[in-house]
C-alpha cells in the first residue's frame, strides 16, 4: 500500500482562480516529454522580469520553499487543460494541494498523476490563511482528514480516485479489459448512426480530393 500520510510545511497562495497558465506558463509547454517542468512552476510569480527570484513570493521564502503542500485559493487550477501544471508541481516537490475548490480538468489531471487534492470548507481555508508564519499540515488520505493548528477538516475522495492513489490502480490497464465491450458498442453504434462514423478520416479524404 502506498503512503497515506502527507505531512509538512504548507505554503499559502491565497489567490482565487489561480489558473494553470500561471502554474505553468506557455514557454514551458514546448517539450515532447515531461522533463524539466519544475523550472516553470509559478515562473512569473517566482521570478522577476530579469529572472531573479522575487523575495516576496512565498515559495522563495526559506521556511516554505519546496514544502510538500500548497494552500490554494478557490477554483485553484482553473483554465487551460495543460497537464504540464500537475507534472511541474510534482517535479517541484508538491505532493498535495489543499483548497476550497479546484478547476475540473486540473482535478482529473491531478488524480491521474497521484497529486493529492483535498477540498476543504472555505472557512477552514480562511483560518489557515490568517495564520502568521509557516503552517504545518498533515493530510491523512486513508481517513480523509486535513489537520493543522486550526483543527481537522474532512475531505472527500471518490472510491476510484482513492484506489488510484492508494493502490496505484492503472486506469488505462483497467479500461483495456473492457476492449471487447468497447468494440461491440462501436459496431452497434456505427450501424445505428453511420453518419457519425469516421468523421475525421472522411473529412480529410474529402478535402484531399478537393485539393487534388
Amino acid at each position: 500500500m502506498k503512503h497515506t500520510i502527507i505531512e509538512g510545511v504548507a505554503a499559502p497562495l491565497p489567490i482565487a482562480n489561480l489558473d494553470t497558465d500561471q502554474i505553468m506558463p506557455k514557454q514551458f509547454l514546448r517539450g515532447i516529454d515531461k522533463a524539466g517542468l519544475d523550472r516553470g512552476v509559478f515562473y512569473d510569480l517566482r521570478f522577476d522580469a530579469a529572472g531573479k527570484p522575487r523575495a516576496d513570493f512565498v515559495l522563495n521564502q526559506p521556511a516554505c520553499a519546496h514544502g510538500p503542500i500548497l494552500l490554494g485559493g478557490a477554483n485553484f487550477g482553473c483554465g487551460s487543460s495543460r497537464e504540464h501544471a500537475v507534472w511541474g508541481l510534482q517535479q517541484f516537490g508538491v505532493k498535495a494541494v489543499v483548497a476550497s475548490s479546484f478547476g475540473e480538468i486540473f482535478y482529473s489531471n491531478a488524480m491521474n498523476n497521484g497529486l493529492m487534492l483535498a477540498t476543504v470548507p472555505p472557512a477552514y481555508m480562511e483560518q489557515m490563511f490568517a495564520q502568521e508564519g509557516p503552517l504545518q499540515l498533515r493530510i491523512d488520505v486513508e481517513r480523509l482528514e486535513v489537520t493543522s493548528v486550526i483543527g481537522t477538516a474532512r475531505f472527500t475522495l471518490s472510491e476510484r480516485h482513492r484506489r488510484m492513489f492508494m493502490d496505484g490502480l492503472d486506469m488505462l490497464g483497467a479500461s483495456l479489459l473492457h476492449l471487447p465491450a468497447i468494440e461491440a458498442f462501436a459496431t452497434k453504434w456505427r450501424e445505428d448512426n453511420p453518419w457519425l462514423a469516421d468523421v475525421a478520416a472522411r473529412a480529410r479524404a474529402r478535402l484531399d480530393g478537393q485539393a487534388a
Binding site: R30, N75, R82, S108, S158, A200, A201
Partner: protein, 465 residues
Amino acid sequence: MSKTLYRKLVDAHTVVQLDADNVLLYADLHLMNEYTSPQAFAGLHERGLKTLYPGQNVATVSHIIPTHADKLRIIQDGDSALQASNLKRNCERHGIPLFDTNDRFQGIEHVIAPEHGMIRPGMVVICGDSHTTTYGALGALGFGIGTTEVEHLLATQTLVYRLAGDMRIRIDGALPPGTTAKDLVLMVIARIGAQGARGYVVEFCGSTIDALSIEARFTVCNMAVEAGARGALIAPDETALRYVLEHCPDLAGDADLLARARASWRLLASDPEARFDVEHVFDAAELAPIVTWGTSPDQAMPVTSLVPAARDASDTRALQYAGLASGMPIAGVDVQHVFIGSCTNGRIEDLRAVAEVVGTRKVAPGVRAMVVPGSGAVREQAEREGIAAQLIAAGFEWRKPGCSMCLAMNDDVLAPGTRCASTTNRNFEGRQGRGAITHLMSPAMAAAAAVTGKITDVRSLLEEV
C-alpha cells in the same frame, strides 16, 4: 423517466457503467493538438499499444505555429518545430488524419472541426483542450481533458468519465444593437462567477439563444468553460440543421441517411419534465457591450460603467495588475494592441463584424492591430469577401491561422505593460505575455478599440454611420 439532453447524450455513449459516478464513455471524435498530445503518444508506445479507431481521431498544428503571412510557414523555434514534426510522425505512425503546418485547411481545432463537417448533433467530442465545450452549439457534448486521458482515448476511443450535474441557463429577449454572443456570455460569466458552473454541464436555452447563428452559439458554448462548466449544450434546431447540411456534404447528398439522422436528432432535447440541479434566468434586453477589467473572465462590466470597487484581495490584485482604479470609466482607457482571432472569435462572422465597424476608418496611430483568422478556410473566405483587403487598407496585420496571441505560445507575445483589446477567452495574468494586460470583448468592440485607440463603446461608432 424524464431526462436532460446531457443525460441522453451520456447514456447513449455509455459503454459500461463503472460505478455510481463514472462511466466508460465512447467518443465519436477525438481532436488533438501538438502540445498536449506528445506525452500521450509516448505513453502508448511504451505500452506497445495502437490507436483503436484512427479515423475518429484528428490532429492539427495550432498552438505553436507562427502566424506571419509568409507563403511557406517555417517554425523557427527549435522546440516548437520538434513538436510539429513529432505530431506528424505520430499521426503517420497511427494513421490519424492531420492538418499540418502548411496545409491549406490548417487552423485552430475548434474552428476546423465544425467547418469541415466533423461535428454533428448527438456526438461526444473530446480534446486535450479546455475550449472543447464549443461543440455544444451543435448539440454535441464536448469537453477538455488532460494528456493522460488523451492516451486513454487513443487506446480505447473511450474515457473514464465522471458524471456532471445539470444546469440550465435561460436567456430571453432580443440582443440590443451593438451587442453580440460574446457580450452575452461575458455577462453570464460575470453574473455567475468563474466557478459558477463548476461541476455542471450547462444547457443554454431561451429566445436569445434560439435567435443566434451557430457561429454565435460556438462563442457562447466555447466560453462556458470560463464559468467552470464541464460542458455546454444547446438543443439542435433548424438553425443547427442548416449548418450541418452546409458543412456535411455526405449527409446533404444522401436523402435516406439524412432522414435517419434527422429522426435521431429530433430526440436531442431535454424532456419537458427533466429536472435540472441549478437554473439561472437572464434577460438579454439589459445587455450592453461588455469588457473585462481584471484578470479573470468573470471580472467583466458594461463598457458604459465605472471600474468596480474591489470586493476582495483577488480584485485588488487584479486592479493593480491591470493598472486601473475603482471608480474610473473603463471607456477611454488607451490600448496599444488589438488582437482579433481565437477559437472564441476567429470565424467568418466575427471578421465580418470587425469589417462592418471599421468601414473606411483606419487603425489609430500607435495601435498595433492584428487579425488572425481561425483557419485557412476562414482566411480564404474573408479574402473572397474583400474583408482582408479592407482590413489591410485600414492598417490591420492580416495573419495566417493559429491560436497565436490568445495564449502567446508562438512568437506573438505582448511586451510587459502593453494593454490589449482582445477577442479571446482568457484575461489571466501574463496570458498574452508577461505583464501584458488583456481586456476581453467582442470582435465589434475590438474593432472600435482599434480605430479609436481606446476602449470604446462600439455603439457610438455605429450611430455615426
